[in-house]
């Protein structure tokens, strides 16, 4: 961290910062207490593409929030986030999208290759700095839906490799309802079984469905790192997370910042936000 004093930080916020703009249309078919990605929502930043094979993400991808890249030792810090949403009770989170893949099928009943292997991708797109702790404990893993799967409720097994090189199976049994909608995200970290507690996921190898959902759809695996959030308890009212609320997290070069929400209704609501990333 090259900014070491509050005066330096305030000066950077005023004189050396990048402006964040988020203006995303409402995404339909959501549900309260579910996570929903705004990667595919149109607006600002633009609609991200549905990925195919596993790849690391960087700031140049459409769908990522743009900010000025720095020359080391200068770096960037998340300084302020102001937002409103047309649905009360929404929580807006900003994550760095580290890596992703898509195109998994809701009708396949064999092990589908995922191969989102952060260990193998560390040399790409500054991921070694972006993942946070080298034991992968700062990385959040998700199954992310891009198009709806079928109306039959199924379960999924994610075969993963942990930070110590051992492998395990994470099961969604009992968690997924029928017709998983585009934008739905299910967190994998919380599915680590008790016997493997203390381990962290570094690679999702495969996903196997328990049966066919009835429609192919499209979903994939996404690895992110949480960077900041803001609870929006009242509709169409601006709320602010200041630097001391956000904790001034570092935003390493090439971070692919994008919004996701914890929804509170049957749509995400229109999400509009601004903020600043300070440099120095």
């Amino acid at each position: 961290m090259t900014i070491t004093t509050r005066d330096q930080f305030f000066n950077a916020m005023a004189n050396n910062s990048s402006r964040i703009i988020i203006d995303k249309v409402s995404v339909a078919n959501t549900a309260a207490s579910q996570w929903h990605s705004l990667w595919r929502a149109t607006g600002q930043p633009g609609q991200g593409a549905i990925p195919s094979t596993a790849a690391s993400c960087d700031n140049t991808l459409t769908g990522g929030i743009q900010f000025n890249q720095q020359t080391s030792p200068a770096t960037s810090y998340f300084g302020i986030l102001e937002a409103m949403c047309s649905q009360a009770g929404t929580t807006l989170e900003i994550h760095d999208r580290l890596a992703h893949m898509g195109g998994l099928s809701g009708t396949s009943t064999t092990a589908q290759t995922v191969n989102v292997d952060l260990n193998a991708l560390l040399a790409n797109d500054n991921l070694a700095n972006r993942i946070g702790d080298s034991n992968y404990s700062d990385v959040q893993w998700w199954i992310e839906w891009y198009t709806d799967t079928g109306s039959t409720s199924i379960s999924m097994i994610a075969n993963v490799t942990y930070n110590d090189g051992s492998s395990g199976n994470l099961t969604t049994t009992g968690l997924l309802g029928a017709t998983r909608r585009a934008s739905f995200m299910v967190a994998l970290n919380s599915l680590i079984p008790a016997a493997d507690s203390g381990k962290y996921i570094r690679d999702v190898n495969t996903i196997t469905n328990s049966a066919t959902s009835g429609s192919v759809g499209s979903y994939g695996v996404t690895a992110t790192r949480y960077r900041g959030c803001l609870f929006l308890p009242v509709a169409n009212t601006r709320f602010t997370a200041r630097w001391d609320d956000l904790g001034i997290p570092e935003i390493p070069n090439e971070s692919c910042l994008f919004p996701l929400v914890a929804a509170n209704n049957t749509s995400t609501g229109i999400v509009r936000a601004t903020g600043k990333i300070a440099h120095g």
């Binding site: 039959t152 099961t171 328990s210 049966a211």
Partner: protein
């Protein structure tokens, strides 16, 4: 046509879908006849999958499992 377990059968969902300790009983709610890959020929056996609900929570939405993940533990057609 392959045999199916009758609706109401008590079953255990097998690992890996219930971890390594499949102790929670489920009840077969329905059987779905399916096309796995659109390539079924006239000589091929049809495919099916079970829709099951947790025995302790019959109001829950049924979930689908292929037969290889379902182990019958007793039959109780009285649901």
């Amino acid at each position: 046509m392959p045999d199916t377990l009758p609706i109401g059968s008590r079953v255990l969902i097998q690992p890996p879908f219930t971890g390594e300790d499949p102790t929670l009983p489920y009840v077969i709610y329905d059987v779905q006849w399916i096309t796995l890959d659109g390539l079924i020929t006239e000589t091929e056996q049809p495919h099916f999958q079970y829709l099951v609900k947790p025995e302790a929570n019959p109001d829950k939405e049924p979930s689908a499992f292929l037969p290889e993940y379902v182990l019958e533990i007793s039959s109780d057609p009285g649901i």
